[in-house]
């Protein structure tokens, strides 16, 4: 799927397959992540996102297939790989009976950071994740949102080259969601980030590239914009035209390249929804027709298909 110079790739996965008993969580998944890229895995629950993340972080080996991270094999050279990765698992598992400070210190030691760096980095990540007032609070007493921040703090503590975030904004309140996304965007400027989500706007906000995964297989891969473009299929437009509906509508329908046209009135405005055939740009045609008919063209708007629709289209395709 991705054919690039393997040297520029941070992560390269080929033929990744994982079985839980007889059930395949992911099957023949191939992808590559470039250095400094923010890659999003998008898919409904149970699509195989968490399985993929767990394989990337060395938590469990794939049943089949190979992954290299910075040219280290994820199974054979697991320790080297784990040194380079920061990981935020889906449920943010933390030691509830430890204070934030000691927890971060512990994670730093486990990551074999020199004691001096641990101290410096703890105050840095506490700043970045805005945990200042909660340094010595027991993690068990923190709210879900703050625990999420502690989770992110430990993931970035050792300045990993790759950040793997599994559903980083799940279960936290909307304001914290916005903050978390901003934080991920900032981190993505310097680090390679792989994140999974089932929230569509999140992907278009944060990610450079999206992999849509469904039932353990990658069903689409592109930038959020291209994906929208590529999957438009038929293009929709909304046009406001001043003129008698009984004349305008047949005239629009008669145009070449128009698949369908419909009309609705909205507070005295006459709005026509026009469905064009694939790849056709009808703006020119429409404006000429309207002017030629002696009517007035008041507005014209292209309606791209939202990622949500694409997502539904892609992931429900097989059932249809």
């Amino acid at each position: 799927m991705v054919i690039q110079d393997s040297k520029s790739l941070m992560i390269q996965a080929t033929g990744l397959t994982h079985y839980y008993g007889p059930y395949a969580a992911i099957e023949d998944v191939n992808f590559g992540v470039e250095r400094g890229e923010v890659l999003g895995f998008l898919g409904p629950n149970g699509a195989g996102k968490t399985t993929t993340m767990r394989i990337l972080t060395g938590y469990m080996p794939p049943t089949r297939g190979k992954v290299t991270l910075d040219d280290f094999d994820i199974v054979e050279q697991s320790l080297e790989v784990r040194r380079k990765v920061g990981y935020l698992p889906e449920t943010v598992p933390l030691y509830t009976d430890m204070p934030v400070n000691s927890y971060l210190k512990y994670m730093g030691t486990l990551r074999q950071m020199p004691p001096k760096d641990i101290k410096r980095r703890i105050s840095e990540v506490i700043d970045v994740c805005r945990l200042g007032d909660y340094r010595s609070t027991l993690i068990g007493k923190l709210s879900k949102g703050f625990r999420q921040r502690v989770g992110i703090a430990q993931a970035i503590l050792h300045e990993p080259e790759v950040l793997v975030l599994d559903e980083p904004t799940i279960g936290i309140d909307p304001i914290q969601v916005v903050e978390t996304r901003r934080l991920i965007q900032e981190l993505g400027r310097e680090q390679t980030v792989v994140l999974s989500t089932h929230i569509l706007p999140e992907v278009s906000m944060i990610c450079d590239r999206v992999l849509i995964i469904s039932e353990g297989k990658i069903v689409a891969e592109d930038t959020p914009d291209n994906l929208a473009e590529r999957l438009k299929g038929s293009e929709q437009m909304e046009v406001e035209i001043g003129g008698p509906v009984s004349q305008v509508l047949p005239a629009l329908r008669a145009l070449k390249g128009v698949a369908s046209a419909s009309h609705r009135s909205n507070h005295g405005k006459e709005i026509y929804t026009i469905q064009a055939n694939e790849g056709q740009d009808l703006r020119d045609e429409i404006s000429r027709t309207v002017i030629g008919g002696g009517w007035s063209l008041l507005s014209m708007q292209t309606m791209g298909m939202s990622l949500e629709e694409i997502f539904l289209k892609l992931t429900t395709h097989e059932e249809l």
Binding site: V85, S102, R111
Partner: protein, 237 residues
């Protein structure tokens, strides 16, 4: 080695920040003093720790698993094992660190019973041989008991299951002499030699036999090794 130390230190801190450890230590000391007093309140009191050592081996069957049950079962329950195993830490370092923490806590508790020895020295003239040999035996016995609890804690995410299974194994190993009594010849010898208790009695009599030391060290390393293997197998399950 730094990571082993870090894991051990964190576990020790958690022992002291939770009530479980204090309760375990308190019950151990209370029961131990009960056994200790038994020897003294006879019509013919002896300046000996024999009853204490006998009692301590039974108490440890119940208390060692409660010290170890949390070690890995809780990590699996909370899911923190996911972050632990994705850190650049080897599985043996995790297991060893956890084991050392439980051993340090147990040693600390045993050290507190030296108070009994002090009493004997002040008020009587005890024979030091059986006392120091007994302590050596008790530490080895406790180390073995903890290693069994460590293994069961690795195998389940349920702390109660971990503790109960470990107690079961310890009880079986403790009472092998009953089973040995119904057998004859080689099987009897084998069953008796496997037993935890049959190797302890010499220590408490003041005899330090390398055979017994080797037995406890072997048993302990065997269960610690199995625990490491069990943790490794989590990745493949």
């Amino acid at each position: 080695m730094r990571t082993v130390q870090a894991v051990a230190w964190k576990e020790i801190q958690i022992y002291f920040s939770s009530p479980t450890a204090y309760i375990v230590a308190m019950i151990f000391l209370a029961l131990a003093s009960f056994f200790f007093v038994r020897d003294l309140s006879n019509p013919f009191p002896q300046a000996s720790m024999s009853s204490f050592f006998q009692g301590a081996t039974i108490i440890l069957i119940l208390l060692a698993p409660t010290l170890t049950m949390r070690l890995l079962a809780e990590e699996q329950k909370l899911g923190t094992i996911e972050l632990l195993l994705t850190s650049p830490v080897r599985d043996w370092e995790v297991v060893l660190g956890k084991y050392i923490a439980s051993l340090v806590f147990l040693l600390g508790t045993i050290v507190l019973t030296l108070y009994f020895v002090l009493l004997l020295i002040i008020f009587a003239d005890p024979d030091p041989g059986p006392i120091w040999a007994g302590y050596l035996g008790l530490i080895l016995y406790g180390a073995a008991a903890l290693s069994i609890g460590l293994l069961t804690s690795t195998l389940t995410s349920n702390q109660i299951v971990a503790a109960v299974v470990a107690m079961g194994i310890l009880l079986v190993l403790y009472f092998t002499d009953f089973a040995a009594a119904t057998l004859t010849g080689l099987p009897a010898t084998i069953v008796n030699e496997i037993g935890l208790k049959s190797h302890f009695d010499d220590f408490e009599r003041g005899v330090i036999d390398t055979k017994h030391i080797a037995y406890y060290l072997l048993l302990t390393s065997f269960f610690v090794f199995l625990s490491i293997r069990a943790l490794e197998s989590r990745r493949w399950r």
